[in-house]
């Protein structure tokens, strides 16, 4: 039933069998064949693993066996619906997915309803939202599903219009025959349905005919967001699922030995239940405010935590002791050597929506609601915890209030299920903000040591040794088997090193290059934070490249231009240098910085201008962390093919905001086994007073014609460029990030007992 609407057979990559799985094209290989660098970088760097097969390929390949198990449904009201087996947490995948379907189905985007699929264990590795991989892994399967639906509609229309499919054209949900008679998708929906599974052959639209993909669209949930109608987990009204919070230990992962006043607290106003669970003492009541009161009133005898007495200094000592050796000896005669070492503090990937979930556990079944990027392993782990078969647990995925890696795990869902089972009542569990910073997952502290040898204008060797507190990948590839493998004592390091090796590449021709990771210390609650290892590895490398350029008497931009291996990398670098007017005269105390990063099948470059002059650094805004201010950012991104350019720009803007925070202000301070930060006026994420007023984000024209990743791609290059600009503006190379981490603490830490602060009562006085 091939339809003739499409141009004659072009590149055969567009012919697919419904339910046949298109293998990921190894675009990486093709890129290596690009024109040789014309500059003086004569000693090439060999392709690294990630140049040939990266984390996106791993996740896409793992998802392949079940990637066909997705279906687009057309309804009698003329709309289409699709349950996306991924989590929308702000990165825009419900919008981009609606656009993919609109393109192949010839139906307007606003008539396509994309919801989030419940947990579907049969999808195995195809329901994990990670590594900015959603569009990369679903680009073909979703369009095939839409094309299959469109083919059915055309066949049904041929019958209704008494015409042949070849004479039919479809546009915006209406199919018209040669005679001008037409019929709508809604009218055809029932007739086009099939009573048995068929395999059909479809041809996907060539890119030359795209009218939706590649053009900017606003978010499909924009109206719901601005009217307060967008529903997050805690907004759901599940019968009898009352507010619930947990009184948590003073140190990380402390345990409950005994509760001294459970009865008194149970009688507090609005409180219905008090019960001990594995992570603390849960309280349930009519309002969260009364839960806060109850948590603060609880008197608990706490057992030790998993990192008792640990501090920034003690963890740093452990990291330094675990750094893998540099093998290339300094060669004073033959070449010069440059060494550098950087330390990166603990950071929080806490979203504005704290950890939360609803659980309704009954004797024979359970239902869970939450924003979950790995719902299958959540379902399986919860089933195991509450002693029910996997099939008795239903997990609904809600839209998330941000994630930044935090929602890869299901900490709140697991707790909610435990509480609900013990109480025999539904619970609406929410972590307090202080819990989210002090007991929530963090980006682990790490160090990065680099040594390079160089001679006669060329870099001969480049070694980077990255050493980190253990990064928890216990969600695996999204289901229990790989999840457990990633928890085993040897398995966790293997998983971390696999992710590191499949994400870190060397964009420059620096001769013999080795980048290695080692991880130690498993007592912390860690996890991936947006862009995982890349922000710190890239920041260390780009700062090091600036030092190399200086030692070799070269301009940072020119040096990069000469040594970059890939023409696409040079294209984004040249773009930001031109648009950002690199090299313009800058007043003392201000400077430009430029940096490059390659990942997610794409290339990104950032040019940053920063003002470190006293008048700026010391500007006064009430209880605000001002300090150096990034005044301008020019960012260029080549994502192979931007499905939604406006959405891609939004993700870069978010990554830039993260980059500014990582470089200048946001970190967790560890002391006596707990993190001092307890709220947003202690943990200094970027605020309006740190924002660059001059921001330009350039989406490069398509290069590979295949969509790359977006969600995390803005962080590394912007973070590195801010660090480089700061170094040039201050004239000194910082070796700890963020640069203010070792300043005197900018706040008075909240006590650890009680674990959360009371809400103020003077709000009316601050109205304006």
């Amino acid at each position: 039933m091939a339809d003739q609407r499409r141009s004659p057979q072009g590149l055969d990559r567009r012919r697919f069998l419904g339910y046949v799985l298109a293998a990921p094209t190894l675009v990486a290989a093709a890129q290596l064949g690009g024109p040789a660098p014309e500059a003086s970088a004569a000693i090439p760097t060999l392709p690294q693993p990630a140049d040939l097969f990266d984390l996106n390929d791993l996740l896409t390949t793992a998802a392949l066996p079940s990637s066909g198990l997705v279906a687009v449904q057309v309804h009698t009201d003329g709309t289409a619906s699709f349950a996306l087996p991924r989590a929308e947490v702000g990165q825009g995948v419900t919008t981009s997915t609606a656009m993919l379907i609109a393109e192949e189905l010839d139906l307007p985007v606003d008539r396509i309803k994309v919801t989030l699929a419940d947990s579907r264990p049969e999808l195995l590795f195809n329901q994990l939202t990670a590594a900015s991989n959603t569009t990369i892994s679903t680009y073909t399967p979703i369009r095939v599903a839409a094309a299959v639906a469109r083919g059915r509609l055309l066949a049904a229309a041929a019958i209704v219009l008494g015409d042949t499919v070849t004479n039919l054209t479809s546009r915006l949900g209406v199919i018209t025959g040669l005679g001008g008679k037409s019929v709508t998708y809604g009218e055809l929906a029932t007739r086009a349905a099939s009573t048995r599974v068929e395999q059909v052959s479809v041809t996907l639209k060539p890119r030359s005919e795209f009218t939706v993909i590649g053009t900017s669209h606003n978010r499909v949930d924009a109206l719901a967001a601005v009217t307060g109608r967008k529903v997050f987990a805690m907004d759901l009204k599940i019968p009898d699922a009352l507010p619930t919070m947990v009184c948590r230990p003073p140190t990380i992962n402390g345990t409950v030995r005994s509760v001294l006043n459970a009865e008194t607290v149970r009688r507090m106003p609005g409180i219905t239940d008090v019960i001990t669970i594995s992570t603390g003492v849960a309280v349930r009541g009519r309002t969260f405010g009364q839960c806060v009161d109850a948590v603060r009133a609880l008197r608990v005898d706490w057992g030790k935590g998993t990192v008792e007495g640990a501090s920034d200094a003690s963890v740093l000592r452990e990291l330094k002791a675990a750094q893998l050796p540099l093998v290339v000896p300094p060669l004073p005669l033959l070449a010069k050597t440059l060494d550098a070492e950087f330390t990166f503090a603990f950071r929080s990937n806490s979203a504005l929506e704290t950890n939360c979930a609803i659980a309704d556990v009954r004797r024979d079944r359970a239902e869970i609601w939450g924003s979950l990027k790995s719902p299958i392993v959540a379902q399986q782990a919860i089933a195991a915890k509450i002693g029910l078969p996997q099939s008795a647990v239903r997990v609904h995925v809600t839209e998330g209030g941000g994630s930044f890696g935090r929602k890869l795990f299901f900490d709140a869902a697991l707790e909610a299920a435990e509480i609900s089972r013990k109480l025999g009542k539904p619970v609406k569990l929410m972590w307090h903000r202080t819990d989210d910073f002090r007991q929530g997952r963090t980006h682990p502290m790490c160090t990065s040591r680099i040594r390079a040898t160089y001679a006669a204008g060329n870099v001969l060797t480049f070694e980077q040794r990255h050493t980190s507190v253990s990064t928890d990948f216990g969600h695996g590839l999204g289901e229990i088997i790989t999840g457990l493998a990633a928890k085993l004592p040897v398995g966790d390091l293997t998983f971390s090193e696999t992710v590191f090796t499949l994400t870190q590449t060397m964009p420059y021709n620096f001769g013999v290059t080795t980048q290695l990771l080692n991880e130690v210390e498993r007592g912390f609650n860690t996890g991936s934070m947006r862009n995982i290892y890349s922000p710190d590895v890239c920041c260390a490398r780009e700062l090091f490249v600036d030092q190399l350029a200086k030692n070799m008497g070269k301009d940072p931009y020119r040096f990069r231009q000469e040594f970059l291996r890939d023409h696409r990398a040079r294209a984004v670098l040249v773009k930001v240098a031109k648009v950002g007017n690199w090299g313009r005269a800058m007043p003392a105390g201000t400077a430009q910085g430029i940096a490059i990063h390659t990942e997610y099948k794409g290339f990104a470059a950032a040019l940053v201008e920063i003002d470190c002059r006293p008048a700026t650094v010391n500007r006064r805004i009430p209880s605000a962390r001002t300090g150096p201010r990034v005044t301008k950012v020019v960012f260029a991104v080549d994502a192979g093919l931007a499905v939604n350019p406006r959405g891609l720009q939004a993700q870069m803007m978010g990554g830039i905001s993260d980059g500014i925070a990582l470089a200048l202000t946001s970190s967790l301070h560890l002391k006596d086994g707990y993190f001092l930060e307890g709220s947003w006026d202690n943990y200094f994420y970027t605020r309006q007073w740190n924002v660059p007023k001059d921001l330009e984000i350039i989406v490069m024209p398509p290069t590979t014609g295949q969509p790359g990743g977006a969600g995390e791609f803005g962080v590394a290059a912007s973070y590195a460029a801010v660090a480089c600009a700061y170094t040039r503006a201050t004239g000194s190379l910082p070796t700890t990030f963020p640069v203010n981490h070792d300043d005197p603490l900018g706040f008075d830490p909240l006590p650890t007992v009680p674990p959360i602060p009371q809400s103020p009562t003077n709000g009316l006085g601050n109205a304006f």
Binding site: F288, G654, W689, N762
Partner: protein, 158 residues
């Protein structure tokens, strides 16, 4: 249990709840009005920003006992009602510039932005970069630049 009455989004509501329960939880947990969001509970992140008698405030830091029967509380859900159009110009500007990403902070951002523009107008001046620098609402997705552009464009139609 004490009874509290006030005007919520144009309608009088009465609720039985203890005096010191903060208004945010009365709105969300008892009245089911979930536009205002929890982000910190200590009047820092401003995700719960709403209006009382036309001024922006944080219901997480106000006891329901301190609200008078004549007080007009407006949440994001009631903002259009204050101008009698399907969307307030600030909400329309947010859509025009595709500001929201996850959207969790945006109700609070919009309610604060409306008050910020009103504050500048009351002082007989346009909203400035300095005003925008002082907006404390946290956006963890980093939509700040589009927020600034949307406020500037909405200010002309308020």
């Amino acid at each position: 249990m004490p009874e509290h009455t006030f005007i919520l989004n144009g309608e009088q509501v009465t609720v039985d709840v203890e005096d010191d329960v903060r208004l945010l939880w009365v709105l969300r947990d008892i009245l089911g009005v979930t536009g205002p969001k929890y982000g910190c509970g200590v009047e820092v992140c401003k995700a719960c920003a709403s209006h009382i008698n036309g001024k922006v405030f944080n219901p997480c830091a106000v006891r329901v006992g301190d609200i008078k029967p004549t007080d007009r509380i407006t949440t994001i859900e009631g903002l259009p009602g204050t101008v009698g159009t399907p969307l307030h110009p600030m909400q329309q500007a947010w859509i025009d510039r595709d500001v929201a990403q996850c959207g969790y902070c945006q109700p609070g951002q919009i309610m604060t932005a409306v008050a910020k523009v009103r504050q500048a107008k009351a002082q007989g001046r346009k909203i400035t970069d300095a005003d925008l620098d002082e907006i404390r609402n946290i956006c963890r997705c980093g939509t700040y630049n589009r927020i600034r552009e949307a406020i500037a464009s909405a200010a002309e139609r308020m």
